[in-house]
């Protein structure tokens, strides 16, 4: 116990940061896929599909990620699914991020002006064609800034993967702190690393927003 901060500690933090980035990537990809399906389901012509996907979003957005992680990791294995922490963290983040992306993207799809839908309908395009060729390309433009903005939240939220045994950035800091007892130093370093990861993305999202002239408010988990 005790000792002072050395290069090994920093290396350890670096490793944690790599996991943070890796988990974020998994969450982005998995959550992106689920979110896409949810967004489509939320604007489905079938009421049951809309309701079901709406309930999913409500449920996930009403539960802290910590609890989702816990239930995802141990709950799934309790049901007999053998999954590694990586899969469990990936699955939980996917479930969580999917709900938020689904909501964000539903908004973007619906932000495509009504007359555009009607014009496509008037040309005799099928529903799928309308979606693929007219609505989604336009929604994608609208969606870019808030999507990039949400990535910041994903990065910060991967810290909760520590409950399933992941030693990512926040947890590696905690472990070092528990042997060094230097909370200010350690947490300041962690804060800096998070800031270094997140701030460029925030800047990017702001730039995109300005360029597209969408001054929309970002709604995001703290």
């Amino acid at each position: 116990m005790g000792g002072t901060l050395n290069a090994n500690h920093l290396l350890f933090l670096g490793q944690g940061a790599l996991w943070t980035i890796g988990l974020s990537a998994i969450a982005l990809i998995g959550g992106g896929l689920v979110g896409f399906l949810i967004a489509l389901a939320r604007v489905s012509p079938r009421k049951a599909v809309r309701l079901l996907s709406g309930a999913y979003v409500q449920l996930v957005q009403g539960t802290p990620l910590l609890v989702i992680m816990f239930l995802g990791y141990f709950g799934l294995s309790a049901l007999g699914l053998r999954i590694t922490p990586l899969w469990a963290a990936g699955a939980s983040l996917t479930i969580y991020v999917g709900a938020y992306f689904g909501e964000i993207w539903r908004g973007c799809i619906q932000a495509v002006p009504r007359p555009q839908w009607e014009a496509a309908e008037g040309l005799g395009l099928s529903r799928t064609q309308r979606m693929l060729k007219v609505i989604l390309p336009q929604a994608m433009r609208i969606a870019t800034p808030p999507t990039v903005g949400f990535m910041v939240q994903i990065i910060k939220n991967t810290s909760l993967a520590s409950v399933v045994g992941f030693v990512e950035l926040a947890r590696s800091g905690q472990i070092i702190n528990n042997s060094l007892f230097e909370p200010f130093l350690i947490y300041a370093i962690i804060a800096l690393i998070y800031f270094a990861l997140c701030f460029p993305i925030s800047l990017l999202s702001r730039r995109l927003e300005r360029r597209m002239g969408v001054g929309r408010a970002k709604l995001m988990p703290a």
Binding site: Q61, G62, P64, A78, S159, A188, A191, M220, P221
Partner: protein, 227 residues
Amino acid sequence: MGLDLDFSVVLERWPLFADGAVMTLQLALMAILIGGAIGTFCAIGRGSSNRFIAGLCAGYVETIRNTPLLVQIFLVYFGLASIGFKFSAFSVAAAALAINVGAYTAEIMRAGFEAIPPGQIEAAEGLALSRVQIYWHVILLPAIEKVYPSLTSQFVLLMLASSVTSQISAEELTAVANYVQSDTYRAFETYILVALAYIALSLVLRAAFWVLGQVLFPRQRRLGTPL
């Protein structure tokens, strides 16, 4: 199945959960009140022609939005104590949450302000209203009305995020869960229960904001449609 669920041991401790839920709500409400005010002023400040004030507000918003809440809470709690200010865990937790949600509120309110047509402000100026009167009578309420759904959701998220204040000894819902589960080792039961409790609290909070909206926006109550 590797386990059999037994909720009785956990449910026995319901008064603890109730206390925790009450504290979670109290924390959220304090943070919403203070953070809402901070955020509103900060949104006004960012549009200020005084570059120092505008920069200060922007710096605050960016710092908070790009670092994890947990780190912010540690720095406030232990930071204050080591320079000699000792407050209860509750006050510090509420303050840290308020600082956090303030940054997000500022962003949302800014969007609200920007959505007010300039003609509205000119009309008010033409009626000889002062700047403060214009903000108060003409800008604030319509701006809030425009972003009310976003604000509501942000505040619900804050309530969920308040779970990390368990780290600095605030006895809110997650703290109670952690305590109960290490006391009983009934982890699943505890966390399932707590998940349900959080969902219920979110619904309660949303309902409360809906009612508040009905009071704040009589026009909407009468005409039903948002602006």
